[in-house]
């Protein structure tokens, strides 16, 4: 099996998938399988670590090594796993609650350390598994079981935070855009460093239609843009808008009002621009940015540096444990 080219189907386990019919997680699983195919590792060299949440049931459905762990800690667990065996292709699958609420700290630090993991955050802006409480990515005013009068927390934008932490690969997709998600997962899987892939998903039960504004047939195209490296930032149902620089920020203008030369061209390696792109929101008159916002693998990964240091110390000191035990001030009786 390892020798022949695997297909997506090879990555499906026998277990019956228990997400609600229509749940956005199905589409995302499909994209992740593409990523694994692209990474080219045999299934027994792939490990998936998830937390707790609907999305975190993911590993059960995959014909790889899978670890369904505890709520919020997948990033830390995966970090240990990767450092222990850097040859594995390690994926973290986590929900918005899992990653940005209880798991916020580990999310922050795994990005900062640039651990070579593929990190998929399935963002449905709700706690699905516990039946519908708001999450840190829920919108202001959102009604949920625990916010019957509306959320009063400002939402957080994980992709933006990831960039502020020096993330080396930051992408955003949405369940409905299957091809885009595949592209993201394939690129993410190949990236050497932490690949942060936030994918919006629809929770049909507790937050149905949360992302509809962005992808509805009528004017959804007016509210999002798909970024492509080297291409002009043009969007809208009839490509009627474009993005141009505005001081240190970005603004959207009608393309017919813009100077062609001013239209921004996407550059995956521009971290400052990526931060701005990540923060764009329709309620600020800007489209949500999908695609690969940032990708640059010139920064060393933590797991590589661990062993560089190990090798250097071995080279320099190269003691045996007996040496160490017998060192210091010893005496013989």
């Amino acid at each position: 099996m390892a020798d022949t080219q695997l297909t997506k189907k090879d990555f499906a386990s026998d277990a019956e998938v228990k997400w609600c019919p229509g749940c956005g997680d199905f589409a995302i699983m499909n994209a992740v399988r593409s990523g694994m195919v692209a990474a080219g590792k045999p299934r027994d060299e792939v490990a998936i670590v998830s937390g707790i949440g609907c999305s975190s049931r993911f590993p059960y459905y995959m014909e790889t090594y899978g670890f369904h762990t505890i709520h919020g800690r997948a990033a830390a667990i995966a970090s240990g796993l990767k450092v222990a065996n850097p040859k594995l292709d390690v994926w973290v699958i986590s929900g918005d609650g899992d990653s940005t609420a209880i798991g916020g700290n580990h999310f922050m630090h795994v990005v900062r350390r640039n651990m070579n993991l593929n990190y998929v955050l399935i963002n449905n802006k709700i706690y699905g598994l516990t039946k519908g409480q708001y999450s840190p990515t829920s919108e202001m005013g959102q009604i949920s079981k625990s916010s019957p009068y509306g959320v009063i927390d400002y939402p957080m934008t994980p992709a933006k935070v990831a960039i502020s932490l020096g993330g080396t690969f930051v992408a955003r997709g949405i369940d409905k855009k299957m091809k885009l998600n595949e592209e993201i997962c394939v690129r993410g899987a190949m990236h050497n460093g932490l690949s942060f892939m936030e994918i919006f998903a629809n929770c049909v039960i507790y937050n149905d239609g949360a992302h509809d504004k962005l992808v509805n047939k009528e004017d959804g195209a007016d509210y999002h843009i798909i970024l492509k490296h080297g291409e002009k930032m043009i969007f809208g149902a009839t490509s009627q808008y474009c993005l141009v620089q505005d001081g240190f920020g970005i603004k959207a203008v009608r393309i017919d009002k813009a100077d062609e030369a001013d239209i921004l061209v996407h550059d995956e390696k521009n971290a400052e621009m990526a931060a701005i792109l990540a923060g764009m929101r329709p309620d600020n008159g800007l489209p949500i940015a999908f695609g690969i916002l940032y990708a640059d693998d010139r920064k060393k990964t933590y797991n590589d540096m661990v062993y560089e240091q190990v090798d250097a110390v071995k080279e320099k000191r190269g003691r045996s444990i007996d040496d160490i035990m017998q060192s210091g001030h010893t005496w013989t009786v």
Binding site: M1, A2, S13, A15, R43, D44, E45, V46, A47, V49, I52, P59, Y60, M62, E63, T64, Y65, G66, F67, H68, T69, I70, R73, A76, I77, A78, S79, G80, L81, K82, V83, A84, N85, K87, L88, N105, H106, M108, H109, V306, Q309, V310, V313, K314, K316, R317, G318, R319, S320, I321, D322, I324, M325, Q326, G328, H329, T330, W331, T332, V333
Partner: protein
């Protein structure tokens, strides 16, 4: 002339050093330890330092101490009241004089008794002169004066010269305890001489001069009428070094990995008094020991669980509040059934409590501090050196049973030191048989089943990621034999029973407890962890005195050794001295329905032998 000073032979001597935190009490203590040990004495020591904030010099709150006991026989504690106190300044004297044995010796640096320094600690008159220390044998030595004189020729700042008072003191003590001066001179060369790692030739010279000045002072001063002579103890032959419990545990972590043929992994977050373990381990990158300092305790244990899942020999190290944070993830290791060793260096609680003080109050947390019915083996190290063995044993059991194991040490044994017979790697038990990863080659024709169990140990079959064709899924929900999530009532009942039985079973292979003394005695004193030394010392003394007292030490605190119930049942009374409010007592009472008495002490300080003797005497009606 002191040359005629009497040479009194002694069985053991207790010495305490106290001074400012910056004064190097631990260093001088360690030097004397090594000196005495080289000379064949057995030694036990106990550092005692203030909370982490550096209190201003010269205040009682800022005093560091180091107590040690030297003997011509096996020594189990740092002793009770000191025979000799070396107090380097007024604050130190104020802090410690009250502890000294009646008639004991107090050595001080009289140069430090300035108006200002005495005022600072509330002495209204000079205690060296006002007879308030009558009853002690006070040796007020003008150390600065003498040292500066000895180093008059050397070009060194005054402060640097004054620092040599420690080796001056060593000289005095070397004379006083009749030790071989060459050992100290060699040590100075080794540490600072031309062949040292960082040669500091001036320092070597200065310390040598100061040391000799101290020796001479002892020989010539009329102050000393007596010298002590300690015979050599009967000590097992071999190579020795002085070691702290934290360092010993770090070494065991490296050693266990090597002997298991696995990389060792520590996921940790610094916390007093466990940090030194992490420090020492972090230096051992050349022996396949990887340390990750994570963002918090939870990430510390989680990274270790991740590493364990990948097949590393995984550890996490912490102290009380950290253990509290790790409990959910410890439950994860438990229900995943992967090996993991949690080393918990106990400190004063509850909550932040007394970070720098020792206590044994995490036992029940270690037992029960997890949601659900969740059993884990617990081993308690009983001395600094024993931290090596206890940690090594824990690793073996973790591997063999696929279970998290908790090692309990405490601030006293983690940071205290004692001589340690350095083992040879070749002689340590081979741990490879316990690793036993499931690989298809070893099971032709069989399919891997993740929660299939060894009929004897109940350890599950375990295939790590990367094993050809064994990909499978496990998780923290209740699961069936295949690792698939199961809500079947009987599966949960059975899995819960398996998890419990696995730990209970361990009792079958644990060594029986050994009774120190006769089983026909009246009182049994049970020690665990750090109380071992004081109990052993106390019971030995009482046995020598013909008292009907016996002792046992629990190394594995859970499960209890198989013969424990029977042993206990042979005694009229059982005493459990603990540095907590009676935690082991509770477990023993519940298990054996025996009315054990609890001698509890929560003062940040280990037991003294006499405290135990007094209590036992009371129980004997004496």
């Amino acid at each position: 002339m002191a040359e005629n000073a009497k040479l009194t032979s002694a069985e053991q001597i207790v010495i305490k050093f106290t001074g400012d935190s910056g004064d190097g009490m631990q260093l001088i203590g360690n030097q004397l330890t090594a000196l005495a040990a080289l000379d064949g004495n057995d030694v036990n020591s106990l550092p005692d330092y203030p909370a982490e904030i550096r209190a201003p010099a010269g205040t009682v709150a800022g005093i560091s101490g180091f107590q040690m006991c030297l003997g011509d026989h096996k020594i189990y504690t740092a002793g009770d009241a000191p025979d000799v106190l070396v107090a380097f300044n007024p604050a130190a004297l104020k802090h410690s004089s009250k502890f000294v044995k009646a008639g004991g010796m107090i050595i001080t640096n009289s140069d430090s008794f300035t108006e200002k320094s005495m005022e600072k600690v509330g002495y209204t008159s000079n205690p060296l002169e006002d007879h308030s220390l009558n009853g002690y044998d006070v040796k007020a030595i003008p150390m600065f004066t003498l040292v500066r004189e000895a180093l008059a020729e050397m070009e060194l700042p005054i402060a640097a010269k004054d620092r040599c008072k420690n080796f001056f003191t060593m000289g005095v003590l070397c004379w006083l305890f009749n030790k071989d001066k060459q050992l100290v001179l060699d040590f100075i060369q080794e540490k600072f001489g031309p062949k040292a790692k960082k040669p500091l030739l001036k320092v070597a010279q200065a310390n040598t001069l100061a040391f000799k000045a101290g020796l001479n002072y002892g020989e010539t001063a009329i102050m000393f009428q007596e010298r002590y002579d300690l015979g050599a103890a009967q000590i097992e032959k071999g190579l020795y070094r002085n070691i702290t419990g934290n360092d010993a545990a770090a070494l065991a972590i490296a050693a266990a990995g090597e002997k298991a043929g696995l990389q060792s992994f520590i996921g940790s977050y610094p916390i007093t008094p466990a940090t030194d373990l992490l420090h020492y381990a972090s230096e051992m990158k050349d022996v396949n020991l990887v340390t990750m300092q994570m963002e918090d305790e939870i990430a510390g244990i989680c990274s270790a669980v991740g590493a364990a899942c990948a097949g590393d020999l995984a550890f996490t190290t912490t102290s009380g509040p950290g253990l509290a944070l790790k409990t959910e993830a410890a439950g994860m290791a438990l229900i995943l059934e992967v090996p993991l060793v949690i080393v918990n260096v106990q400190r004063g609680g509850p909550c932040t409590g007394l970070p720098t003080k020792t206590e044994q109050s995490d036992l029940l947390q270690a037992m029960f501090g997890r949601n659900g019915d969740s059993y884990m083996p617990i081993i308690a190290a009983n001395s600094p050196a024993d931290c090596f063995d206890a940690t090594y044993q824990a690793a073996k059991i973790a591997l063999k049973y696929r279970t998290p194991v908790i090692v309990l040490t405490d601030g006293y044994i983690g940071q205290g030191s004692c001589p340690w017979k350095v083992p040879k790697m070749a002689e340590l038990e081979d741990l490879r048989p316990y690793v036993n990863f499931w690989v298809p080659e070893a099971h032709p024709g069989e399919k891997y089943v993740s929660y299939k169990r060894d009929p004897e140990t109940l350890a599950r079959d375990w295939a790590i990621p990367g094993t050809k064709g064994c990909q499978h899924r496990i998780g923290t929900l209740e699961k069936d034999i295949n690792g698939a999530v199961s809500h079947d009532p009987m599966v949960h009942q059975q899995m819960t029973e398996f998890r419990k039985a696995k730990v209970d079973n361990l009792a079958k292979v644990l060594p029986d407890v050994e009774v120190n003394g006769k089983t026909s005695n009246k009182v049994l004193v049970i020690s665990w962890g750090g109380t071992y030394g004081a109990v052993k010392g106390a019971v030995d003394r009482m046995i020598d005195d013909g008292k009907p007292v016996s002792g046992i030490n629990l190394r594995w605190v859970w499960p209890f050794p198989a013969n424990l119930g029977e042993v206990i049942s042979q005694f009229d009374k059982v005493l459990v001295p603990e540095l907590n409010m009676g935690q082991l007592s509770l477990l023993l009472r519940a298990k054996f329905l025996v009315d054990v008495e609890s001698l509890s002490k929560v003062q940040g300080d280990p037991f003294r032998e006499y405290e135990i003797i007094d209590k036992v005497n009371e129980m004997l009606g004496e």
